[in-house]
């Protein structure tokens, strides 16, 4: 049953990822990526990381991709044709590199020592919150400074010179 859910989520994730990087309409790319992110959230939930699954939908699908959609619609982004066919060397090299990455990752995974997964303890949100604010408090503060810097940077970049 769990395996069936995983297989469906995995197949859907790969298919929509392919659509996300290859379709010519940028809005369809973004929507396919929403589906991919949803499937990845399902995988997180299968792994017992419920907080991360909800955070994934909230942050990635609900905010980051909406930002993408806004920019696409505001820029009136044209549908760029896949004219990489004009540069066959780069295209082959890119596909070969991607294939090497996939095969390498798969081989690495298959030759791993099979350690049975440990059982998750307690409420996921509670545990992550505690860990984040005690062991990793410094990184937490740094990330908030980073987000502030990104906000200020983005505002500065799109300001019109008056």
């Amino acid at each position: 049953m769990v395996m069936a859910v995983f297989v469906v989520a995995a197949v859907l994730a790969v298919v929509s990822a392919l659509a996300a990087v290859s379709h010519r309409d940028p809005v369809v790319n973004v929507l396919s990526l929403v589906v991919t992110f949803f499937c990845v959230a399902v995988c997180f939930a299968l792994l017992g990381a419920h907080f991360l699954a909800a955070a994934q939908v909230l942050i990635y699908a609900g905010a980051i991709l909406v930002l993408f959609l806004f920019v696409i619609m505001l820029l009136g982004a044209p549908q760029t044709a896949n004219d990489e066919a004009r540069r066959p060397v780069q295209r082959t090299a890119g596909l070969a590199l991607a294939a090497i990455v996939v095969v390498g990752g798969a081989l690495l995974a298959l030759t791993m020592q099979a350690v049975p997964p440990a059982a998750p303890v307690g409420s996921n949100a509670h545990a992550i919150g505690t860990a984040m604010l005690t062991t990793h408090a410094f990184s937490f503060e740094l990330v908030s400074v980073l987000l502030l810097a990104a906000m200020v940077g983005a505002l500065v970049l799109v300001r019109r010179k008056q």
Partner: protein, 344 residues
């Protein structure tokens, strides 16, 4: 195992019935309520007090011609209202709408009347699903190939994501005081002390205002008003797709009212009433419905009493008004919880 599935299916059935019958009831309440506020009678011919009017309206919408604009992206045009309705109905499964303490159906103890009772990240799920509601609107605006639609869609989405922040902070205050992300524990934590509306009044105000903005209701309905932007993102929709948008709006209203009631007003509890068994179940359900109806009436009342916000006033209120107030509320709650105040 099968008994648990049947219980969950039963809860889902009750929930779906509640939500789908709320739509025609709300249409009737809206039209009669608007009429009485405007010192006229409203529809009263189609049945006793006009209660069959919403059915007549649905039949009319069903028979209207389903037009698709010429330059529209067909798939996105078809998908947008479906996303709106789907997301609107999905948020309700983490809201407890009653309590079946002491009731066992087919050998399974009923517990709290919440469909997704094993989901431990209830509130986070809610925020995640409601942030997906933006897609229905922005896709409707984009795929209609109409510049007013696009403007309305973009404005409405910007409004939604701005008020989501203030809403999330107000909810965070409640979660901080409760100590758990599950909504049935939020309700349980409010028994024995004053409901959350009393110690977290600022949060309650912020949440109610943000709720009006999130459901695109007056005074924040600039993006879809008929007199502005030619009805905004659903101008090119007709027949059942338009009905789908209207349905999603009313279901969003029901969900928002249910959330206010659960987070700030004690959910299905009444102070001093602790019943068990089937009687307790019925009483809790009735109390919940009564409280939700009060807020549904508030939606209608405010719609026909207040003027509309201009778009820049709306954004200024969201970012410069509600966000600081919600932050202050959160700080106060945090101080209260840290100092161990009993009534926070």
């Amino acid at each position: 195992m099968a008994a648990e599935l049947i219980v969950v299916a039963g809860k889902l059935l009750v929930l779906a019935t509640l939500l789908l019958t709320a739509v025609p009831v709300m249409v009737w309440v809206e039209r009669r309520g608007a009429a009485f506020i405007q010192d006229r009678l409203g529809p009263n011919r189609v049945g006793p007090w006009g209660i069959i009017q919403p059915i007549a309206d649905s039949v009319k919408l069903l028979f209207k011609e389903d037009v698709t604009p010429a330059g529209a992206n067909r798939w996105l045009y078809f998908l947008a209202p479906m996303i709106s309705v789907f997301v609107a109905m999905l948020t309700f499964i983490v809201v407890p709408f009653g309590d079946g303490k002491g009731v066992t159906i087919l050998g399974v103890p009923l517990g709290s009347l919440m469909v997704a009772s094993e989901l431990e990240v209830g509130v986070l799920y809610l925020l995640a699903i409601s942030s997906l509601g933006v897609y229905g609107i922005v896709l409707a605006g984009w795929s209609s190939s109409n510049k007013y639609s696009l403007l309305g869609g973009l404005r409405s989405s910007a409004q939604l994501i701005s008020y989501e922040l203030a809403m999330g902070l107000a909810v965070l205050g409640v979660i901080l005081a409760t100590g758990s992300l599950r909504l049935d524990e939020v309700v349980a934590a409010q028994s024995g002390k004053p409901w959350n509306v009393v110690p977290q009044f600022l949060g309650f105000l912020v949440f109610v205002v943000a709720m009006f903005a999130e459901t695109n209701r007056l005074p924040f309905d600039l993006a879809e008003a008929e007199t502005e932007l030619v009805a905004g993102y659903h101008v090119e929709y007709s027949s059942m797709k338009f009905a789908a948008f209207m349905m999603s709006e009313y279901i969003n209203m029901v969900t928002a009212s249910a959330l206010v009631v659960t987070l700030f007003l004690g959910g299905w509890t009444l102070p001093g009433v602790h019943l068990e068994g089937w009687l307790g179940l019925a009483v809790s359900l009735a109390v919940f419905l009564a409280k939700v109806s009060v807020f549904m009436w508030l939606f209608v009342w405010v719609r026909w009493s207040l003027p509309r916000f201009r778009y820049d006033q709306l954004m200024r209120l969201g970012w410069k008004g509600l966000l600081p107030i919600a932050t202050v509320n959160l700080v106060l709650v945090a101080v209260g919880v840290a100092l161990g105040w009993k009534w926070i």
